[in-house]
């Protein structure tokens, strides 16, 4: 087999390698534009009711016309400062978002509906809840340090 054929093989492999990675949108379910960034989580999860019917967080966690549920305001300009390294009001000792530690971040416990949460699984009006893929993306944002990006 000559070099030309092997070059073709390498090009084919390289092309395939570039194309083979799973698309993030394939697991993001009803929010195909969701990425593991704070801006994206804010826009696609906190502020948007998605096509599957999962309610926007800011329906309740807002200071617009009401007191934010659980004392957590997810309005655009203050959401980050209400989440990251902030103690949860419902469960003493819990931190809403611990940068780099999604498994111990209380927001993850709440959206996954773990047994240790105070009150109900979020969103309050669920189901539908966030899909596994959506939760995975949020956990990734936390795992990479919960940057304000």
């Amino acid at each position: 087999m000559n070099r030309f054929v092997w070059t073709l093989c390498l090009i084919a492999i390289a092309t395939c390698a570039a194309a083979c990675d799973e698309k993030l949108s394939s697991i993001a379910g009803p929010t195909p534009n969701l990425h593991p960034t704070f801006a994206s989580v804010q826009a696609e999860v906190f502020e948007k009711t998605d096509p599957a019917g999962r309610a926007a967080c800011t329906n309740c966690h807002t200071s617009t016309g009401r007191n934010p549920s659980g004392g957590m305001n997810l309005n655009h300009d203050v959401a980050y400062d209400n989440l990251v390294n902030v103690p949860a009001r419902g469960r003493p000792g819990a931190i809403r978002v611990i940068p780099g530690d999604p498994e111990n971040s209380y927001i993850v416990h709440k959206i996954e509906g773990r047994s240790d949460i105070a009150g109900r699984r979020m969103p309050f009006s669920g189901p539908p809840y966030l899909t596994d893929g959506q939760i995975l993306i949020i956990k990734r944002w936390i795992a990479i340090g919960a940057p304000r990006n």
Binding site: W6, I13, C16, A19, C20, E22, L24, S26, R140
Partner: protein, 285 residues
């Protein structure tokens, strides 16, 4: 550095210091090579070349009952060493398309399909201390599975074989496998795996061999444990019958790169399980 990670270094050193004279390699690929009689060690490929327009068939079988099973209701003998339980089965066909070049397909029972191509680029002779082959492959998961997307893992590698007379063969096989992690790359730290497969085959009787291999993950995505296997095999004409023991079920290369899982025990600890299996190869030449 754990023992399996050190293995490539040990095997490389063994190759370099191998005192036995190199086997005089024939260009007749249809002739039996006593030191390298099969196209695979256990799961890892060898440098054995397929004669043009000839073929070979292989069955892989990995019983899924652990040899040391705490949750099984019957004894190991009572379950016939795993034969009574399920198994991950693979069927492989390879064909020599050109001199020194072969292509093949492996389909395993978990709906993984591996398409591969291998080309021998150097023979062990004169100043060349090893046999060398280039390997390219594409593994696809969930092939034929309704409602589940397939994941594709292309692979590039080189197989280096040091033949020690007609007695033994040592293997070092660096490979890069893309997309071993089946999550989108935005969600993972590593999406690819670089393995350095090592293996050995030793002829202990005229037609009986001992084989062993491991596939340490040198870099990238490396979940679970490094896959390792050992076995004994008997050559009978164009057949090779191999009984093997592995700590994971992988036979396709992307499966081997993903390694195996430790069993989580109820007391919170974990242990490595070993499984019995077999390979049967038939050469049609």
């Amino acid at each position: 550095m754990n023992s399996l990670t050190r293995l490539p270094l040990v095997v490389c050193a063994a190759i370099l210091v191998a005192a036995a004279p190199a086997a005089a390699q024939s260009d007749d690929d249809a002739a039996l090579k006593l030191g390298e009689p099969d196209f695979t060690v256990i799961g890892l490929p060898t440098s054995l070349r397929m004669p043009a327009f000839k073929s070979a068939f292989r069955v892989t079988h990995r019983f899924t009952r652990p040899l040391d099973c705490e949750t099984c209701s019957n004894s190991l003998a009572g379950d016939a060493f795993g034969i009574d339980q399920g198994a991950l089965i693979g069927l492989e066909m390879r064909f020599g398309i050109v001199p020194n070049g072969q292509v093949g397909v492996l389909r395993t029972g978990d709906k993984t399909v591996e398409l591969f191509a291998q080309y021998g680029i150097a023979r062990q002779r004169g100043a060349m201390p090893v046999e060398a082959s280039l390997l390219a492959a594409l593994d696809s998961t969930n092939v034929g599975q309704r409602g589940e997307p397939s994941h594709f893992s292309p692979l590039l590698g080189i197989i280096l074989t040091r033949l020690i007379a007609d007695r033994a063969a040592l293997y070092v096989e660096p490979m890069w496998i893309n997309n071993t992690n089946q999550l989108p790359k935005e969600l993972v730290d590593h999406n690819n795996t670089f393995i350095v497969g090592v293996g050995a085959r030793v002829r202990i009787r005229p037609t009986v061999y001992l084989v062993a291999e491991a596939a340490p993950r040198a870099a990238g995505y490396k979940p679970g444990i490094t896959q390792g296997s050992f076995g004994i095999e008997k050559r009978a004409g164009g057949h090779m019958f191999q009984l093997n023991f592995s700590n994971a079920f992988g036979t396709a290369l992307s499966q081997i790169a993903r390694g195996g899982l430790k069993e989580q025990l109820s007391n919170g600890s974990s242990k490595t399980n070993w499984y019995m299996g077999f390979n049967i190869t038939r050469k049609f030449f």
